[in-house]
Amino acid sequence: MTATEMPSGSEPAKAAVPAHALNQVRFLQKWTTRWNEYWFAKDSGYAFALFRILFGLYILAYFLISFMGSVTLEFSNQGIYNPFRIPDIALPPVGAGILFWFFIILVTSFTVGFMTRIVTPVILALFLYYYFLSIGVRDCAYDRLTILFLGTSCLADLDRVWSLTALTRTPGAQKVRVWRWGARLMTLQIMFLYGGAAVFKMFDPAWRDAGMMKYTFCNMWATPPAYWFARLPLPSWVHLAMTIFVVVFEFWLPFAFAIRRFRLWAAISAAIFHLQIAVLLNVPEFLVCVATYPLFFTGDEVRNAVAKILGWGRKPSPLEPSR
């Protein structure tokens, strides 16, 4: 029945569309609105700025500590490495050295927020080059996380405040609010990481055995403090309790990050958890997760926390416009 066939006095549009279809449209509109509100809410740029600084420092530390002394071996055509999925396109030693330091300069530029929009895709491209040429052979999760974060960073506004670029902008430009999309995506990935790890361990029989914790502390990743801990005359139920605690803790983390009142505790305890992994199992690379923690908070929360820590009080920081 069309609108022209409607009896006089009726409302043509409402009568023409069945009620269940209208409900479906409303349902779709409601969830589309919620989706957009979640992903594209606006925020000040402080959370992104702190993420940019921490993430940049992480990549700098990772590359300088791990590879600075072995660039020729690691990335040159006279080295010992195993490309994956790409041809062997390593440069001669001099070229590899120049490229390495070019990469370091780019990451420094990223960290201080100078030309971030331009350098971030180049950093991603070079990181992918290093990954497929050499470092990806280890198949480590933290390298893939770094790639995901770099990819997301290419599409996020990271240098709105607390950056060299911001110094060249007008105060008004620094107050422009940015989409939360990048923050949402990276924090969601972190929540999947912790939650996924917990669920995976719940279903894995090895994680119901006290031996997991005991032998992890004397394997190829273990450090002297881990060996010291393994030598303590603890009953096996302590090791089992620690194993269960890790699973419960990882399961709790995504929920704690999602609930505002637990968020700070989640960030602090997860950072301690990663520090513990760095100290006992010599895998500091997972500290890359910590760089994303500011993104769980609003920009103003981050700004206020940093101001409190650095004693800025209510005054504007040296890198932001007067309010």
Partner: protein
């Protein structure tokens, strides 16, 4: 907005798909996902299992002109050639990424490539004592809280040393 929403939706889908595959591998219906995406988002497998055995790869070379006999192989400075922490070194010498490929030839090619690079590197830096073959040996011994090497050469421990030369897989010249 549409593109960013599509990216966000894809990342969520990939994570859910990988999680379901991991916790319920026998599930009859799986959320389809390209193999590369599965390995990219499979982020939670580290320390997922344990072993009471320590293992370490070491690189070996057969001096040029020497007969192919187990006693003629000389140890190469593995820690200098692959200068990384123990776990890192193990995963590199195992070519872990290549080992996880469906096609075993990818892993064999990676080991050949590794052997060739070690052979070239050694002969370039030590032209006075060249090698003609490269071998990879894996030593395994019971782990102990008293240290990484504490039971490595203990004759009372079982399976103290298990050696495998992979000279047939690696470059032979």
């Amino acid at each position: 907005m549409m593109v960013l929403s599509a990216i966000a939706g894809s990342v969520i889908y990939a994570n859910v798909s990988v999680l379901l595959r991991s916790v319920a591998p026998g599930m009859p219906v799986k959320l389809p996902l390209p193999r590369e995406a599965i390995s990219t988002f499979q982020l939670f497998g580290m320390f997922a299992t344990f072993t009471a055995t320590n293992s370490q790869f070491t690189l070996w070379g057969l001096p040029r002109g020497a007969a192919l006999s187990p006693t003629n192989w000389i140890p190469l400075p593995t820690d200098e050639l692959v200068p990384h922490k123990k776990g890192d070194q193990f995963m590199r010498l195992r070519a872990t990424k290549h080992a996880s490929s469906v096609n075993p030839k990818i892993h064999i090619d990676a080991m050949m490539n590794l052997g060739e690079k070690v052979w070239r590197y050694h002969n370039r830096h030590h032209p006075d004592r060249p090698i003609s073959r490269v071998g990879l040996r894996i030593d395994s011994w019971p782990s102990s809280p008293h240290g990484w090497d504490s039971l490595r050469n203990d004759p009372t421990a079982t399976n103290t040393l298990e050696s495998i030369f992979w000279e047939d897989l690696l470059l032979t010249r």
